[in-house]
Amino acid sequence: MPQIRMLTDKVRLVSEPTDKFKTGCISVSMALPMDERMAANSLLIYLLKRSCKAYPDFSLLSGKLDELYGAILGAGVSKNGESQVLTLSITCLADKFALEDASIQLEAAQLLSDIIFNPNVNEGSFGDEALATEKRLLIQRIEEELNDKRAYAFNKCISCMCKNEAFGKDKYGTVEEIEAVEMADIYAAWKNMLSTAVFQITVVGAADADKVASVFEKNFENIVRQPAEIETVFIQKSKHFNRFEEKFPVNQGKLVMGFRAGMSHRRDNIFAMTVMNDIFGMGTYSKLFANIREKMSLAYYCWSRLIVSKGILLVESGIDTDKEKKVSAEVLSQLSDLRNGKTDPEVLESSKRALRERHTFTTPEGILGWYSSQVLSDEIITPEQMVSGIEQVTMDDVCEAAKKLSVDTVFMLSAQEEAEDEI
């Protein structure tokens, strides 16, 4: 069971100490509303990752991490419901594995808190060159989303489906917004993050949670907290069906079908929804894998993914462009079977077994991910609680959950006729 404590207003520390791992991991998730600050927030998190007062440039900080036996400093931006979550994390070796006496864990915890609370700021500036570099890298990162057509199509389906909702926005903000960010915006974003973000500090493995708590508590002493209220709009049913298409010179088309899942909040009917999604298209025993891939040989992959933080479900598959109708019709026909109880009872048992396994985390990163994704939930649920909820799900529950799905948006990334090289 994890230990949970509140350090200050909406700053929660969740820890699962264990000595079975070689490492200790600390992650700090900071949830903010998806508002006009998104671009500045994104740049901020990457600027913070570059340096701090004690190691004022990128090379020095990287050198310090290497000296700490290759400690891994991570920074990221993600969407969690209609919230932009900024994350900074550090993973490093447990002290006992050092080749000479060292307190890697404590140094790493201090370094992480320095990066957040004591950045390399001089008179409100993070450095013009640093900002210019991070702008270039972030814009490049956004433009490169195009390189992975599978992820591109997936995100594009979401942005088409949720174009009138905050969830349809790009997690980083737009390229135009990023270009327009000024230094003063970054400084304001930093101050805003410290006072208004909903924080969760998650500590797993060899890291000493008490020490982490006191390092962070001390830093929050001088900060006036006014935590943001973060709400996510759940649209339970599709209002009308839309299809979007983009053509690219590629070999394989990507079909993504977006469904509204009939949920009214992120834990609404969560156990049945999880099992339903698994049977629909997660496991190798799932309807989509067994039929679209194995039986009909139409695709190498065809999966469904449930995004509980927004109450939507997406089906994705890499197919020949001219097979779109055939595949989408088959997906809907499999859904119809699922709704009508045409599922082997053995499959329900397989799904429960597999979900039990999927909630048995074998790495500190897995445990960290499970808890940190709950930054916006008032109550933490453990993997064990999730599993026991799943155990209770019946085939009727699965059918009912499937009946709540309504197809909303299809996004098709089509292959243009000519995909020849022109050198």
Partner: protein, 423 residues
């Protein structure tokens, strides 16, 4: 069967190694506190095996992509397929084919003994018909198309194509649409007979299981006893690449590049010490803390994804560096200059020690993960090493050795591969 124990006290791990009478090598690492177990059953048969030794001792050419094709097909049987069987134990099963091996694996925490029996059983029971082979040609065809659209994949294979004149490392792991069309059930049976004999295989199990239990299950489930480790043909390559430059246009946002330096090798395999010395040398010269990284970043020639590695196996070895760049040729020139400078002036002790410490830390960290650990045990075995040899080799690497490895990197043996956007 008898096991030999290998213990690394500092690391706190013990591996049990044994040779089953059938010829099968077994390596087990029981992990205290872990409920899950990961098992991998590997065959020394990968995409570079494009020739098979026949009865008269001559090497006979076979189509490209057979190892990967067999990997897909072994999941099938006359009755329940392997996925359906694993669904009953809850374990998640998978397989992969790389340049030098094919690996079948599962991970699970319940019914581990039963899952292990299924793993051993399905890999030992081939079942192919013309019909199932044809079905798989459709699925693998889609898999090949998917990879053709992935720039990271293409940039590497294009580089291998120009770096190597005849070594099969240059061919795609899955083969081509044309080569897989030549595969039929008879050929698969023949290749299966040749490669899938216990002496050419290894079983590595890591996690919540003990060695006696594994031995008992192996005793009951290994059928074949004849056979020997398959030989590979070593043909020395001319170190000079076929071409020095290759460019392909794909639907990408920015140029991507990979710079490769082929090594002039006279023996088919590098020693583990050479391998690790190269990795540490590359980290010291090109890592995030290095002056080279800073220069490239400041000149806007790379992004944070820039990285380098030694890529080696039977009959091939090269150093690869790559990332996204607006000017790959300029980036390549700066990298070459830095190699030349450090070849003349020497790598600093400080940079070397920092890189070595990072490398050691990351190696220890990898023991967190039962998946990584089992795969590493397998690789060590196939390359003729005992457990923990990699950690010992890392500790023993000297600056002189790293410098020696740097001297092997030569401009005249290099090639640049670029993926550019379709304008």
């Amino acid at each position: 069967m008898k096991f030999k124990k290998y213990t690394d006290n500092k690391l706190g791990e013990t591996v049990y190694c044994g040779k089953h009478p059938s010829g099968l090598e077994i390596r087990i690492l029981p992990k205290e506190g872990y409920t899950s177990t990961y098992a991998v059953f590997g065959v020394k048969y990968g995409s570079i095996d494009t020739a098979v030794k026949n009865a008269s001792g001559e090497f006979e050419t076979i189509p490209e992509g057979t190892a990967h094709f067999l990997e897909h097909k072994l999941f099938e049987s006359e009755d329940l397929n392997a996925f359906e069987r694993f669904a009953k134990t809850g374990a998640s099963a998978n397989a992969y084919t790389s340049f030098e091996k094919t690996a079948y694996l599962f991970k699970g925490s319940e019914n581990v003994g039963e899952s292990l029996e299924i793993l051993l059983d399905f890999v030992q029971n081939p079942y192919f018909t013309q019909q199932t082979v044809e079905k798989e040609q459709g699925i693998i065809g889609q898999e090949i198309r998917m990879y053709q659209d992935l720039p990271d994949w293409q940039v590497m294979f294009n580089m291998l194509k120009v770096l190597y004149s005849h070594h099969p490392v240059k061919i795609d792991i899955a083969g081509t649409q044309e080569s897989i069309a030549q595969i039929d059930a008879d050929l698969l049976y023949r290749l299966y007979e040749n490669f899938y004999n216990p002496s050419n295989m290894v079983l590595c199990v890591v996690g919540g299981i003990d060695s006696e239990k594994v031995a008992e299950i192996v005793d009951k489930n290994i059928k074949r006893t004849e056979g020997a480790m398959c030989e590979r043909k070593f043909q020395k390559e001319n170190p000079v690449p076929v071409q020095n430059y290759i460019e392909e246009k794909l639907s990408v946002a920015q140029k991507q590049f990979m710079l490769g330096f082929k090594e002039d090798i006279s023996e088919p395999l590098l020693s583990l010490e050479d391998e690790i010395a190269s990795q540490i040398m590359l980290e010291a010269i090109t890592g995030k803390a290095s002056p080279l990284f800073k220069k490239l970043l400041d000149e806007e020639l790379i992004d944070m994804g820039f990285g380098s590695e030694l890529f080696n196996g039977y009959g091939f070895s090269c150093v690869m560096l790559g990332g996204t760049s607006k000017d790959p040729e300029k980036a390549a020139a700066i990298i070459k200059e830095e190699f030349a400078r450090l070849n003349a002036e020497g790598i600093s002790t400080e940079a070397f020690e920092r890189a070595k410490r990072k490398f050691y830390g990351r190696m220890v960290m990898s023991y967190n993960d039962i998946d990584d650990t089992a795969n590493m045990l397998m690789n060590l075995y196939f390359n003729g090493y005992e457990p923990f040899a990699e950690i010992e080799a890392c500790k023993n690497v000297t600056l002189e050795k790293a410098q020696e490895r740097l001297a092997k990197i030569k401009d005249e043996y290099s090639a640049l591969s670029v993926i550019g956007p379709i304008s």
